[in-house]
Amino acid sequence: MRDQHGIQAESLVREYKGGIKAVDGIDLRIEPGEIYGFLGPNGAGKSTTVHMLTTLLPPTSGTARVAGFDIVKQGPQVRSAIGAALQEAALDPFLTGREHLRLQASLHGLSRDERKRRSTELLERVGLSLAADRKIKGYSGGMKRRLDLALALVHEPSTLFLDEPTTGLDPQSRTALWSEVARLAKGEGVTVFLTTQYLEEADVLADRVGIIHRGHIVAEGTPDELKAQIGRPTIEAVPADPDQREAIEELLLQFGTPTAGDPLSVSIRCESEADLADVIRALDAAGLHVAQIHMHEPTLDDVFLAKTGTSLEGAADEEELEAVSA
């Protein structure tokens, strides 16, 4: 079903016991039919945001409208308009795929004929027709994710929430799911709110990306806009002789500022118009040897690093450590 309203949120906050703010005043404006990638490490507030927008968790303060309905005052209307595949593909191991679809469709009030038609169509679409009558405990992770997506679509929602839909999937299943999500948005006009901790997923799939860190949106825009904010490329050199590391670092700093990278390498973000050839010439002139040298255009991880002071991978570790010590 084509969405007409999109998603809007203003100063959305969710505070847990002890005053911990999992989401701390986020604003969202997502256009109908848009794929919005919500990027951040574990514990950044992505799932809490999804739970609020899908009405599963009341916000502590702030407002939001999904598919034209207020998430606090019009919970049932929001739930009728949305489909959601939450972080864990919560399925009953003792039911078959077809039985899951029957249950979900029935609870959404579809008639018997409509249930049959829709189940067959969705099973076909997600490639589970042959496995439809097998119990879930025999499904692979990818099959469970595909069924989860089919369940979210059973009542033809106008807005779809996907909470880390490809976590744990093999590359083939991941690509297949990306294609389906893109088709839903571009072909059917479904608004998609997708959380992910994969940079590539946000880069490839999302029309716009919001980067969330510790409950705050720290950057928002199309992937190209965000990368353009960083502007300069990064050069990363691996010394051939570890004793020359310091000298190489000193030389590279003439071309830019240091940035985080592999501990064995020296990384800088270019600040001048110099290109890789200039750097290689300078190294050669100084008699410094490198085993490898790369220049790469800014990535969303560079954006994340620039906005938060840590790489996405490092932030994930940090958030997990904090969660453990809490």
């Binding site: 599963l56 919560a90 009953d92 249950l103 009030g109």
Partner: protein, 257 residues
């Protein structure tokens, strides 16, 4: 109509998943039968006590099999719901237009189905082993109904525990407490023959005693209106309180807007 249809769908799922776990059903059905076989032989000397109401300990003890079956059914209902909470299935259901009451009533479908199977097996085995109903076929049918209602009642307690704790392990560890109620009842002796005062007092204030005595009266006494009224009253009260407590806990557990 919509709510009824939702109740049916949730109940259907609860029944299907229960029936597809034979490892859960078989011990639940057979363990009370084993205890019945052991006790009806091992404790039959109790029938020689002056004032013991029957000469057959099997007739006296058969209601305990129904009670134990009901307790096992409560564990099934509770653990299944706790698993749903733990793995996020409850969230999946909460995202549909399903009403809370449909979840509560439907979730008990598995407990009722298991209770029905157990009651049918115990009744069949009991009659085959020589149990004779003083109230005849009508009394046997009424005992069957009461046993299923008791399974439903204990099922509501299982659901309540699951909603309060959200953990299958917590539900299972609470299970012995329910069994404790059974042991502190008139399970092994009529209350008037319990000579230890504190035990008799506890059995007298324990509602489980009245559920047992209602079933027992149908087998060994004939139609005893007071025993039946008390048995049904406490069973209905347990169902009502269990459902009310579960409804309150569901509001906290499923905090959707």
């Amino acid at each position: 109509m919509r709510t009824l249809s939702q109740v049916w769908e949730i109940a259907w799922r609860s029944i299907v998943r229960t029936m597809r776990q034979p490892a859960q059903i078989i011990p639940n059905v057979t363990f009370p039968l084993l205890l019945l076989a052991i006790n009806s032989n091992g404790l039959r000397a109790a029938t020689h006590l002056p004032g013991f109401p029957t000469s057959s300990f099997l007739d006296f003890f058969i209601p305990i099999a129904f009670m134990q079956g009901a307790l096992f059914a409560s564990g099934t209902a509770g653990v299944d719901l706790a698993r749903d909470i733990d793995n996020g299935f409850l969230n999946r259901l909460a995202l549909t237009p399903m009403r809370g009451v449909a979840l509560l009533l439907g979730q008990l479908g598995g407990a009722v189905a298991l209770g029905t199977i157990q009651a049918a097996v115990y009744l069949g085995v009991g009659i085959a082993a020589g149990v004779r109903f003083e109230t005849g076929a009508a009394g046997a049918a009424l005992l069957f109904v009461l046993a299923v209602l008791i399974a439903l009642g204990f099922g509501t307690l299982g659901v309540l525990l699951a909603l309060r704790t959200g953990s299958g392990e917590a539900v299972q560890s609470s299970f012995p407490l329910l069994f404790f109620l059974l042991f502190l009842s008139s399970m092994n002796l009529p209350r008037n023959l319990i000579s230890i005062d504190w035990f008799r007092d506890l059995a007298t204030v324990n509602p489980v005693s009245y559920m047992i005595e209602a079933m027992r009266s149908l087998v060994i006494e004939g139609w005893n209106a007071q025993a039946l009224a008390l048995g049904f009253l406490f069973t209905v009260l347990m169902i009502a309180l269990g459902l009310a407590g579960s409804a309150l806990s569901l509001k906290t557990r499923m905090a959707r807007t």
